[in-house]
């Protein structure tokens, strides 16, 4: 039964209330049999049993998942408060919407550009190599050097080179464009 009790609080409370009532009756009868007046007998039984509301509360709490009760109360309180302040609700909702939208947009870009693997087989085996000057600066690679590298390569499955190129163009001139690199 263990977790099922959380859904039977009312039922168990009624059961236990009935049970405590029965207890009182039996004790009262016993007291009368011992020679008390019915009134005395009732009082004595009640004294002996103690505070029945407290007992029922203790059992009720045993059947409560206090965390979820509190959570549910908080959620309802939040909705009541929001309904009372429509202006605040609108501003808060818009702020959240914009914030979530912007974050999603930025993440989409980051994901595509930085995080997602390159669309080649074994993307984790692709490396970038460059020539470096004695002072540590990366150097541009001469075509002939690249041909040599490729011819003498024992390390990589294949080599490829790429170049940066900036193109400046204007609408008026026919032959626009300067090459760099």
């Amino acid at each position: 039964m263990s977790w099922r009790r959380f859904f039977q609080r009312e039922k168990w409370d009624k059961e236990r209330a009935r049970e405590l009532e029965a207890h009182l009756e039996i004790e009262t009868q016993d007291n009368i049999a011992r020679g008390m007046t019915p009134e005395e007998a009732g009082y004595a039984a009640r004294r002996k049993l103690g505070n029945t509301t407290r007992v029922r509360e203790e059992i009720y709490l045993m059947n409560s998942a206090e965390f979820f009760d509190a959570l549910w109360r908080d959620v309802r309180y939040a909705f009541r408060t929001l309904r009372k302040n429509p202006g605040f609700t609108v501003v808060a909702t818009l702020t959240l919407a914009l914030g979530i939208g912007a974050s999603t947009a930025i993440f989409s870009v980051v994901e595509a550009v930085l995080l997602r693997a390159l669309p080649y087989p074994n993307p984790d085996k692709i490396v970038r190599v460059w020539e470096q000057a004695p002072d540590g600066h990366p150097m541009n690679l001469a075509d002939t050097n690249f041909d040599d590298f490729r011819a003498q390569n024992h390390t990589f499955a294949n080599l490829a080179a790429y170049e940066h190129r900036s193109i400046r163009s204007s609408l008026r001139s026919e032959s626009a464009g300067t090459l760099q690199d």
Partner: protein, 117 residues
């Protein structure tokens, strides 16, 4: 109320101990809460005064664990009462808890006893 010896240990019945006493009481057969309370009091020579109310949360807890089961029945003097009986798990628990209790008492007694030469 206690007529002889020490004052009743009211309120000092630890939770686990109360569970143990209830289980032991039910070995004799099914009983309702009122009977259980009185049996505990009488068998302890009135030293253990169970506040009757405190019995019911304990019964509820034991039933929830499946150590006892309950049903509505008719009492000796023809009144409706909720009866409790020991389940098989409850019986095993009783054995287990009783030996633990004996260990505990033995250990405390050994500490309390003046060292013998």
């Amino acid at each position: 109320m206690a007529k002889r010896g020490a004052a009743p240990l009211q309120g000092e019945v630890l939770q686990g101990t109360l569970d143990l006493l209830i289980l032991q009481t039910l070995v004799l057969g099914p009983a309702h809460g009122h009977t259980i309370a009185h049996i505990i009091e009488h068998r302890s020579d009135e030293v253990l005064q169970v506040e009757h109310g405190s019995l019911y949360p304990a019964l509820h807890r034991l039933e929830d664990r499946g150590w006892i089961a309950s049903f509505w029945g008719t009492s000796e003097n023809n009144r409706k009462a909720r009866y409790y009986r020991l389940t098989r798990t409850g019986r095993k628990q009783l054995e287990h808890q009783t030996s633990r209790w004996a260990q505990l008492v033995g250990a405390i007694n050994r500490v309390l006893k003046p060292a013998s030469e």
